[in-house]
């Protein structure tokens, strides 16, 4: 009896100890095995050019490999949903957090996650704009000239884009609405395909992500009339923003990192510190700039705030544009 009692007290003591200082004890060893980072797209997407080198540096800081697992499906929605349902133990992360699949798609279709509730933001690394591109030999040297032409010839200008419901498509729709013009859209299977259509002279313009298009800008094949970041960047020289041209359009494709909701704060902190430290390495920033992404570090709180803000921004924009919900 006495023995049993002592045992019980012993067990209780251990339990209480765990409850009070639980966090630090349970997570002191984190991470003690490889971390899976879900990239919700097929291999080869542009953001991987940032994440693969980044995770190599993060591995050194964390002492454990962070393995990219490509889980494509539904334009990024399927893989994100999987992270939303994953264990909150810090061993499953979501890459590309803050992309169209998290900020735009949930407003237009039933997503298997709630962007604001199902994820614990960790860090923001970079972003890039959508741009409106035309061939160099096109008669329109400026956005104004392009809009002017569109006004005089409604519906005749055709632009290719990487798919309806993407941030790129949304940017073009927003311009149409705000400038009072009408164009025809040609959805394609991705940024490279949309650019090929422009290069091959099949359409007059293309609305695509700047990193995909920039090598052709440098080669003087195409020209960027306008880009969608809130402020101009030296990475896209000579390119005005929509804001500068008087249109309230500020959109970016973000490369953030998130964990499932309710991931312990200590784990988020460890992860954030590793990513932040990796971000500060100059060689990594050089890589990010080389592939024409804009380094854009935000800490955990800033990331959460930014995601909230942008989620509301797209929600309102989609309502304003009158885009119906997908079935």
């Amino acid at each position: 009896m006495n023995k049993k009692c002592r045992k019980l007290i012993g067990v209780l003591f251990v339990v209480v100890a765990h409850l009070t200082i639980g966090g630090s004890i349970a997570w002191g060893g984190y991470p003690d095995k490889p971390v899976n980072a879900i990239m919700p797209f097929a291999p080869g997407g542009a953001p991987e050019m940032v994440f693969r080198p980044l995770l190599e540096v993060v591995r050194k800081k964390l002492g454990q490999p962070v393995v990219i697992i490509n889980k494509p499906g539904g334009g990024g929605v399927a893989g994100s949903g999987e992270v939303a349902r994953a264990k909150s133990d810090g061993y499953t992360l979501l890459l590309n957090f803050g992309g169209g699949e998290h900020l735009v798609e949930p407003h237009m279709a039933d997503a298997p996650f709630n962007t604001l509730k199902d994820f614990s933001p960790v860090v923001m690394i970079s972003y890039f704009p959508s741009g409106l591109f035309v061939r160099v030999n096109a008669p329109w040297k400026t956005l104004e000239a392009f809009i002017d032409h569109a006004k005089k010839n409604p519906g005749t200008l055709r632009y290719s884009h990487p798919g309806r419901g993407t941030i790129n498509h949304l940017a073009a729709l927003a311009l149409e609405k705000k400038a009072g013009i009408k164009m025809s859209d040609i959805p394609t299977a991705g940024g490279a395909a949309a650019m090929n259509m422009l290069l091959g002279d099949h359409v007059e313009a293309a609305q695509i992500g700047a990193p995909v298009a920039w090598p052709q800008v440098e080669a003087k094949q195409i020209r960027c009339l306008v880009q969608s970041l809130p402020k101009s960047s030296e990475l896209y020289p000579g390119t005005p923003t929509y804001m500068e041209r008087g249109f309230d359009i500020r959109m970016a494709v973000n490369q953030g990192v998130a964990a499932p909701r309710n991931t312990p704060r200590e784990v988020i902190q460890i992860l954030h510190d590793a990513f932040a430290e990796a971000f500060r390495e100059k060689s990594l920033q050089d890589v990010i700039r080389t592939v024409r992404f804009v380094p854009n570090y935000m800490n955990t709180e800033e990331t959460a705030k930014y995601i909230n803000e942008m989620y509301a921004y797209y929600g309102k924009l989609i309502q304003d544009l009158g885009i119906p919900k997908k079935k």
Partner: protein, 496 residues
Amino acid sequence: MDILSNVVNGLLVSLEPSNLFFCFIGCLFGTLIGVLPGLGPLAAIAFLLPITYYIPVIPAMIMLAGIYYGAMYGGSTTSILVNIPGEAASCVTCIDGYQMARQGRAGAALGIAAIGSFAAGTFGVFVLMVLAPPLARFSLRFGPPEYAALLLLALVIIATIGSRDRVKAFLMLASGAALGMIGPDPVSGNARFSLGVRELYDGVGIAPLAIGLFGVSEVLLNAEIILKQEVMKTSFKDMLPTLRDYRASWAAIVRGSGLGFFIGILPGGNPIVASFLSYGLEKKLSSHPERFGQGAIEGVAGPESANNSATSGAFIPLLSMGVPNNAVMALMLGAMMIHGVVPGPQLIDKTPQLFWGVIVSMYIGNIMLLALNLPLIGLWVQLLRVPYRLLFPVILMFCLVGVYAINYSIFEMFLVVLFGTAGYLLRKVDFDMAPIIMGLIIGPMIETAIRQSLMLSRGSFTIFVSRPIALILLAVTILVLANAFLKIRRLNVTSP
């Protein structure tokens, strides 16, 4: 400008020991993932991408390219020996390759596949050297209407692939196209026919379908009969193709090389379409089309050449324009950009060592692959001596694991089992599996091309005849069709 001096320069670059080493690693790794069903070059290149940060850009590109064309070599091995496409582009090789193996000619089939691949790879590299920039420009002229016309021609040519029974072949082609309808609508992006299953939102993958229909059904069929294993035994003498084999297949290799290269340079062109088209073409041109499906060596030589030269062709838009035309090329582009090499029209002038080094390395890689694969044939054939009760479960495991490794999807493993069962039943009633795969690939492509064309023309069908390339392709399609009808009428007249 001088091609010869460029080639010599490229040779010097690619013969540097470290570059040779990475070329070998790429070829070896490519062969291995080609042999394993499921896992394809795309996944393998993605896995290896982080390694490329630690090595200079030229060996990195040489290695990644090696994986891509190496996989095309390896893919034929599994197709021929066990009737399972090791790589999706080797589906069509199963038809005659496996029949050859059953007749004890596995060695000859493997040999001709390797030699055809080598010839095609060499051809591709040669054209790449001479014609890259102008060809790249031409390929961009291939917009949706041209693509629609080309795919229509392809459908007409390959409609009767591998089947003695036209109706059955068409049924399978249509089923494939119907399966292809599952997934996102190419215009609106809305999921179609996915029955609310989220895993189907992106459609049915090629790998689960091919591996299920060919691989699992093969194992199931063989499990119910006691196979006499000696049919597979080959003596060393039969290992290599005979003079007669060469005579029968050289033309197929030449045609497959040209065709594959052409398909390869097109935006969205892929080696799978190239191999199917080559098979269809060889069957059409053969004076003994009835031999196809019974172990015709041309049916192995043509497609294997085509898929290999398609991989060389795919490099043209990337290296000379900086435009990736499929997912593998997009990864290569990423690998270059991380090293600060800006792909684009000025790549050849700015970094000639990269351009010529990679191209010449592909030639050297092809020689390595030949040297690697010919001696391996003996080893692979030995594999068939493993008792089937051991071999089949292992194959089944590789099929499932291979598919899982592509998208880490349990659902796709279930698809493999489902398609395997369906394939087993269909083969019991004498249906061929190849057309259904063709339907799955070409169906959505042709739908996208036609709908994009009509959006470009704002609904007018004249876009298909007002553009010269599309018009020519359509005219050829009509000629092929007319010829087929004439043949049928003649047959009806002669045979009461």
